[in-house]
């Protein structure tokens, strides 16, 4: 072979070595090319052959081609003769040495050893020496040098690739785990999870979605989401919004939670709570939606809302009842409350007609249907109208409920009118007085099944309260009428009595001309003192009345004693001193709102107990009597008496001032002095 030909062989092997990036194929293909060129049938490579003495060396077999015994041990530790592994490039016939290769599946007699610089050794084995004119141990030196460098680079690359692979494996494991978690979550989720691709097609549909919407995954995946899941009226809007979404990832629903109607497979609509998020996949916007069936929640909310409304209605009803003073206003206010607060379409109250006909006639109403209600004529003897709920409620005394007006064939003739107006349900509640119906409360609603059990119970309570309110109002009116009449009689009696008393007092004064006007003047002063003391008007009235007739007991004193000038005998004086008790006896059984009899009895008692008839002292004497005692003394001393000339006002005031605190109440004395000296009081 010439140099050019040798170069072509080396070039060929160098190309193979340079073309590999991983150790295992590098070694395998290099060995293959060497076998190809040398006619050795078998090649082995051991890298990183350990140092050490001994006949054999345990090392790793890194490549083996051509002998399936060795090929099966690639990657394993094997024992090879040290003579085979150690040393420089060499072709050697060594049948004895090679006979010891336990892994060999054929008999070898020749080996070609090619050390790979510091990386290891490459061995070619053959049953007999292949013919060649070339110094194989020499021509492959540069190739082996190249191979050593390539092994180094490939090892780096393998390590790098292994690192990348480990990262990729980890990432894939993580991804797989995430995927598994997501699948588990999505499978176990109670809410529907629906993913939509950039063309609006469903590409994920979890089991909850199957349950909620009724579609199996294979029935919807790949189909347009909006056409399948959204009611017709929303679709145009959704498609417009989705077009914007695919461009920008934004949309009116993205990132929000809304409540909306969705469409089941069977075509029924139902409320869902939807949360939609956007995410980018392979540069395109996708959407994921969490959808929760809120049918039950919506029903509960509606029920709660209605219950609240009904409770508010009931509460408002109680307020109206408490404040009610007029039945007509009461009925109107209740009907307005049912409509305004209760949220019902309309309401009316009807009473039995007063024209002798057996019929029900609306007497109050509220809401949209006043003209309709106003024209209602419910003849209780007419089968066509008596079959209606209002009539039935009145006739039976029991609540009548019509949840679906359209389906109630017993409804009277005006049912069609009601339906056309939008009335869909109604309830009629009897107004009872002691179990006897006297009217009906009727409520209309726009929705079928509008009255649930709770509402019926509350409306029943409302109607009972209304009935009680009406009955109570009517009872109160009657009581007030009776009380007014009674009060008027009492007043009349009182006025007659006072007139009588005054007439008696005048009679007394006529019998005693010297004291004529004494009682009136005393009353004037007593009233002035009482006012000065700040007494209430009603009490002052009692004082005034008592003063007006305080000497009524003198009616039993003979006129000649009363009119006789000069001193009286002891007996005569005794007769006069009896007049408080006589006066008391006259008035004690007359029912008056003031202690007039006691005033008369005690007006001659004194604080120190020196008075008469009982000799009462201090607190035992009622204030009105203590006050009257002062006014009586002042007026008597200031005025002329048959048995003496007038002493004068100053003398009178001097007397009470002297007796202040002993005979007379000091505070009242002070008030009297103030009235007469400071207030400019004068007897009229």
């Amino acid at each position: 072979m010439n140099r050019e030909q040798i170069m072509s062989v080396l070039y060929d092997i160098a190309l193979v070595i340079g073309g590999e990036v991983s150790v295992r194929p590098l070694l395998t293909k290099t060995v293959q090319r060497l076998l190809y060129h040398t006619s050795f049938p078998t090649g082995l490579v051991c890298l990183d052959v350990p140092d050490g003495g001994g006949d054999t060396i345990e090392t790793t077999l890194d490549a083996a081609v051509g002998d399936f015994g060795f090929a099966g041990l690639v990657g394993s530790r094997i024992e090879l003769p040290a003579q085979l592994l150690r040393g420089g490039p060499k072709v050697c016939e060594a049948p004895a040495l090679l006979a010891g290769l336990s892994a060999a599946t054929r008999t070898y007699t020749v080996f070609l050893r090619l050390p790979i610089d510091h990386q290891g050794v490459l061995l070619l084995l053959a049953p007999r020496r292949p013919s060649t004119q070339l110094p194989l141990t020499e021509i492959f030196r540069p190739v082996m040098a190249n191979l050593a460098k390539a092994i180094l680079l490939c090892r780096h690359n393998d390590a790098y690739t292994a690192g990348l692979q480990a990262e990729r494996d980890e990432a894939q494991r993580f991804l797989a785990e995430s995927e598994k978690k997501f699948r588990s979550m999505a499978t176990a989720a109670q809410d529907a999870i629906v993913m939509i691709d950039h063309e609006g097609r469903i590409n994920y549909w979890n089991p909850a979605a199957e349950r909620i919407f009724g579609y199996r995954a294979d029935e919807v995946v790949g189909h347009d989401a909006h056409s399948r899941l959204a009611p017709e009226r929303y679709r145009q809007l959704f498609h417009e919004g989705f077009a914007r979404f695919t461009d920008s990832g934004h949309g009116p629903l993205i990132g929000k939670t809304i409540e909306i109607e969705a469409l089941r497979k069977d075509g029924r609509e139902f409320p869902v709570e939807v949360s939609i998020s956007a995410f980018k996949l392979q540069g395109r916007w996708h959407a994921v939606g969490l959808l929760r069936d809120i049918t039950e929640r919506r029903q509960a909310e509606q029920a709660l809302l209605r219950a609240n409304r009904t409770l508010k209605t009931l509460s408002g009803c109680n307020g109206i009842l408490v404040r009610a003073t007029d039945e007509s206003h009461l009925l109107h206010d209740i009907c307005s409350l049912i409509v305004d607060t209760g949220g019902y379409r309309s309401a009316w109250v009807g009473y039995e007609c007063e024209n002798g006909k057996r019929c029900l006639s609306p007497v109050a109403s509220a809401g949209e249907d006043r003209d309709f209600i106003g024209n209602l004529d419910i003849d209780l003897d007419d089968r066509s109208t008596a079959a209606g709920p209002a009539a039935r409620a009145f006739l039976t005394g029991k609540t009548q409920l019509v949840q679906d007006l359209a389906a109630d064939d017993n409804y009277p003739a005006h049912r069609n009118d009601a339906l056309q107006r939008g009335i869909a349900a109604a309830i009629a509640l009897p107004l009872l007085d002691g179990g006897t119906p006297f009217g009906v409360l009727k409520v209309y609603a726009e929705a079928r099944e509008a009255f649930n059990a709770e509402e019926v119970a509350l409306l029943t309570e409302l109607s009972e309260d209304l009935a009680f309110g009406i009955v109570t109002l009517r009872g109160r009116r009657e009581r007030e009428r009776l009380e007014a009449a009674e009060h008027e009689g009492a007043e009349r009696l009182k006025r007659a009595l006072l007139g009588t008393i005054q007439a008696v007092a005048l009679t007394v004064e006529k019998r005693d001309p010297y004291t004529a006007g004494h009682q009136q003047r005393t009353a004037q002063l007593a009233v002035a003192i009482a006012r000065e003391l700040g007494w209430p008007a009603d009490r002052i009235e009692g004082v005034r009345l008592g003063a007006m007739i305080h000497d009524i007991g003198k009616v039993y004193v003979p006129a000649e004693i009363l009119n006789r000038p000069g001193r009286l005998s002891e007996l005569e004086y005794g007769l006069i001193k009896a007049h408080p008790e006589v006066g008391y006896e006259i008035l004690k059984d007359v029912e008056l709102p003031w202690p007039v009899a006691q005033i008369i009895l005690q007006h001659h008692e004194r604080l120190d107990g020196s008075g008469y008839p009982k000799g009462l002292a201090d607190g035992a004497i009622i204030p009105e009597a203590r006050l009257l005692a002062i006014a009586d003394v002042v007026e008597a001393m200031a005025a002329h008496r048959p048995y003496r000339p007038a002493l004068g006002l100053e003398a009178a005031l001097g007397e009470i001032t002297r007796q202040r605190g002993t005979l007379f109440d000091p505070e009242m004395v002070d008030a009297c002095l103030k009235v007469l000296r400071e207030r400019g009081f004068s007897f009229g």
Binding site: M1, N2, E4, Q5, I6, M7, S8, V9, Y11, D12, L15, T28, Q32, L35, Y36, H37, T38, S39, F40, P41, T42, V65, G66, D67, F68, A71, T105, R106, A126, P127, R128, P130, S131, T132, Q133, L134, L136, I139
Partner: protein, 388 residues
């Protein structure tokens, strides 16, 4: 001495086939047939399939440009080669030419492995469709998987026009772009030799793809070829006369042991690239075998010595031979036929049977690395149980 396991049928008819099968089945009830059919008789494959199937005889075979019959080339009839007991044989059509190849070969090997216990001599006998562009790679991959569990031998079938043609068959199918793999046991392999002299001038195939050479020394390959033909023979090489001229300018892949692996360019592609039977390594440095001298004596000596070494002599025995079509064209029909006659005479074989092939597989020594060649003779004994 056993009767020959080779039967030449001058005419492939139902009766001729039935007669042969009937005769053989009496002694070999579990026999099978390997049929070698010349391209001109390819329509006879159907008759073979029908008759063998009716007789319940397993059949495999291939279509070649021509047959070899007792020291001559032959375009008619068919060779029936008897397996005394039908061995493992599998037809694998449409082998991938891309990354799918390793998996396909795993499947091929998976079929073979249960029949290989690692003991005794077994030969993996492969007949390829010559149009496969990656036979060299396939051999490398098979050697990695099977190593020395088997000896390797084979040949390429197909048309010498190098037009795609279903050329591999069994009882039911006739397929292309694949391999017919058979396990011969006991069998000690084949000997391969071409005797082309080692060239002096080296060129570089600067652009190759599988079995196509686009550039030589960084120039369009066809341009280089035209210059060579002009200089050597004073003829103008064209698309039409390309094959008959190019056989005189084959490429050689030089090996370190001094033996050249020949690659004969057989067709000119539309894009000016040269189509070879057998792979050319990418960026390979090739030897250009300018009108190579062929040492027939050395070739035959090598073959016969090798066979003798393997089998203890071929005299009186049946010899299976594949003779490269390109070699025949290069040598000329007369010289090639003479070479064939010489081999027949020198071998003293009882019967020499074979086919003109479009590529050969084997090794120059026993247990050698399996190589894909052009321009060679591949010889092997056939059908003798207990062959040493």
């Amino acid at each position: 001495m056993q009767a020959s396991a080779m039967e030449y049928l001058a005419a492939v008819t139902a009766s001729s086939v039935e007669e042969t099968l009937g005769r053989w089945r009496a002694d070999y009830p579990e026999m099978g047939i390997l049929a070698l059919v010349p391209e001109t008789e390819k329509d006879a494959v159907a008759e073979l399939q029908r008759t063998c199937s009716q007789a319940g005889v397993p059949l495999v075979g291939a279509v070649f440009p021509a047959l070899l019959r007792d020291g001559a080339f032959c375009g008619q009839g068919a060779w029936l080669l008897r397996f005394d007991q039908m061995p493992y044989a599998a037809l694998h059509p449409d082998l991938p030419r891309d990354d799918g190849l390793p998996a396909a070969l795993d499947k091929v090997v998976a079929g073979l492995m249960p029949h290989l216990d690692g003991n005794g001599d077994v030969t993996l006998f492969m007949l390829f469709d010559a149009m496969l562009p990656n036979i060299g790679t396939i051999l490398d991959e098979l050697y990695l998987r099977l190593a020395n569990r088997v000896h390797y031998m084979g040949a390429n079938a197909g048309s010498e026009t190098f037009q795609p043609m279903p050329c591999l068959f069994d009882n039911e199918r006739i397929v292309q772009n694949g391999v017919l793999a058979m396990l011969l046991e006991p069998h000690r392999g084949a000997i391969l030799e071409h005797g082309y002299e080692v060239p002096e001038q080296m060129i570089t195939a600067t652009s190759t793809e599988g079995n196509r050479i686009m550039q030589i020394d960084w120039r369009p390959a066809f341009e280089v070829y035209q210059e060579l033909a002009r200089a050597q023979y004073g003829i103008e090489i064209t698309r039409d006369n390309f094959y008959v001229n190019a056989v005189h300018f084959p490429f050689g892949i030089v090996r370190a042991n001094g033996i050249t692996v020949v690659r004969i360019p057989v067709a000119l592609q539309e894009d000016g690239s040269l189509f070879c039977v057998g792979e050319v390594p990418a960026n390979a440095v090739l030897a250009l075998l300018r009108a190579p001298a062929v040492d027939t004596g050395h070739t035959l000596d090598t073959l016969l010595d090798g066979l003798a070494e393997l089998n203890g002599g071929v005299a009186g025995r049946d010899l299976l031979l594949f003779y490269c079509a390109g070699r025949r064209l290069h040598l000329g029909l007369e010289t090639a036929a003479a070479e064939l006659r010489l081999l027949t005479d020198r071998s003293n074989a009882r019967r020499l049977c074979g086919a003109l092939s479009l590529g050969e597989i084997g090794s120059t020594t026993q247990w050698g690395y399996p190589l894909f060649h052009n321009a060679t003779l591949v010889a092997s004994l056939w059908g003798e149980p207990g062959t040493p």
